[in-house]
């Protein structure tokens, strides 16, 4: 079996086959992947990471494809992570996002990867964040995440993006309410896709009203509402321009740094938790000893825990 470290250099060079393999290692938490990620992390940090979220059928995959085409026309490389729910019963999944992303078939500058929500050992969110590191470290200019915005793990994933776009469509009715509830806080841009359909301007008005009511103070990014027809590309260049403007705004106002730090905090906590918990399980001598002592009331749980994590 190929080891992660054998292909790190090829990943850094942006070779698709190596990137593909590394993403599998990340998902499966293959031995040695952490060392590879350590190297890749040092080369990462220059990609613009976009998150696209919204209900199934709103046109996210079509929009991702149209955005990819736009970025390619500017000579930028694109990496896509398309997250699809898995079957609760079998754990299997049918990942269909690629169906709408077919016209990049033989362009090595567009890398598309389908991710099943239950496929990742050690959690979807962490796997996705590490996957971003792989694509970013491979020199990808724009990384696009597609998720249906349900479930905490998926909201976590989308929060890893620098620019988050929430996609809605005309005539969603109650679904606009659903967006209000869960995703309002994370939206940097609202997209009303399928603007070729009746009711687009009403949806825009509803979103505008919703944004007006949300408490946004002065000096904050003014969340724009963009209309697109992903199916034919209308509005996609403008949307990309807005994404660019958002990144620029964040850079100027220190928000980019703030988000990067928030992200770093999350990731450090995740792995720290894992490192600590790995030592705190039956079979580890110190842990078994602590169990004996606490059970026999010779010490208390807090003291034992402090002792175990090396903090007195």
């Amino acid at each position: 079996m190929t080891a992660p470290k054998e292909i790190v250099d090829a990943v850094l060079e942006g070779r698709n086959q190596a990137v593909a393999r590394m993403l599998t290692f990340v998902e499966r938490r293959t031995d040695g992947v952490d060392d590879a990620l350590a190297v890749l992390h040092r080369s990462a940090g220059s990609a613009h990471v976009l998150g696209l979220t919204g209900p199934p059928g709103s046109g996210k995959s079509t929009l991702v494809s149209a955005l990819a085409r736009h970025y390619r026309s500017e000579g930028r490389t694109v990496g896509v992570l398309a997250v699809d729910p898995s079957s609760v019963f079998s754990g299997g999944a049918i990942l269909g996002d690629r169906i709408r992303m077919s016209d990049h078939g033989d362009d090595a500058g567009v890398f598309i990867r389908s991710v099943a929500t239950r496929g990742a050992l050690g959690g979807l969110s962490r796997a996705c964040l590490d996957a971003i590191t792989v694509l970013d470290g491979a020199g990808t200019d724009v990384v696009i995440l597609e998720t249906v915005g349900v479930g905490q793990a998926e909201v976590d994933v989308i929060s890893a993006a620098q620019t988050v776009a929430v996609v809605s469509v005309p005539g969603m009715g109650d679904d606009v309410q659903a967006i209000k509830a869960g995703l309002l806080e994370v939206a940097d841009v609202h997209v009303v896709n399928k603007a070729d359909r009746d009711g687009a301007s009403r949806t825009v008005a509803e979103l505008r009203e919703m944004l007006r009511l949300s408490r946004r103070s002065a000096g904050q990014w003014n969340v724009p509402i963009q209309q697109t027809v992903a199916a034919n590309g209308d509005g996609v260049a403008d949307l990309a321009a807005v994404f660019g403007a958002h990144l620029e705004w964040m850079t100027e106002h220190g928000e980019r740094e703030r988000r990067a730090r928030r992200n770093a905090a999350t990731r450090i906590r995740w792995v720290a938790e894992e490192l600590v918990l790995d030592e705190l399980r039956p079979g580890v001598a110190a842990f078994d000893h602590a169990l004996d002592e606490v059970t026999a009331h010779r010490t208390d749980p807090l003291s034992a825990a402090r002792h175990l994590v090396g903090r007195r």
Partner: protein
Amino acid sequence: MDTREEPIRVMLAKIGLDGHDRGVKVVARTLRDAGMEVIYTGLHRSPEQVLDAAVQEDVDVLGVSLLSGAHMPIFTRIFHLIDGMPERPRFAIIAGGVMPDEDVDALTAMGVAAVLGQDTAPDTVVERIRDVSAPAREA
């Protein structure tokens, strides 16, 4: 660490003008229900697109569904493209759909790991895919 078994990843592809997609969708559901991750390409792909996609998705098995009668030229093209790749992909390639018996040997000689025709039972499809994926998963 979680010791769950890693799901087998399979790409199901339709290449060329062949518009018969009922069978491939049935197979997709069968494999999903057997716990596999299935990436479906949709209709009317080129061999180049499908191979590129299979590499990016790092699948264990690439299954091509063909009912159009064009399986010989299409598989010839696929293996020609693979010969031109800098590195041989690790996935196994299988064929499914309507293919006359007399072509099976030729397909096998080209490198097709399994030919699963019309009356293959779902359990057999699952079993054969498990079999052919094993070497790829070692790679």
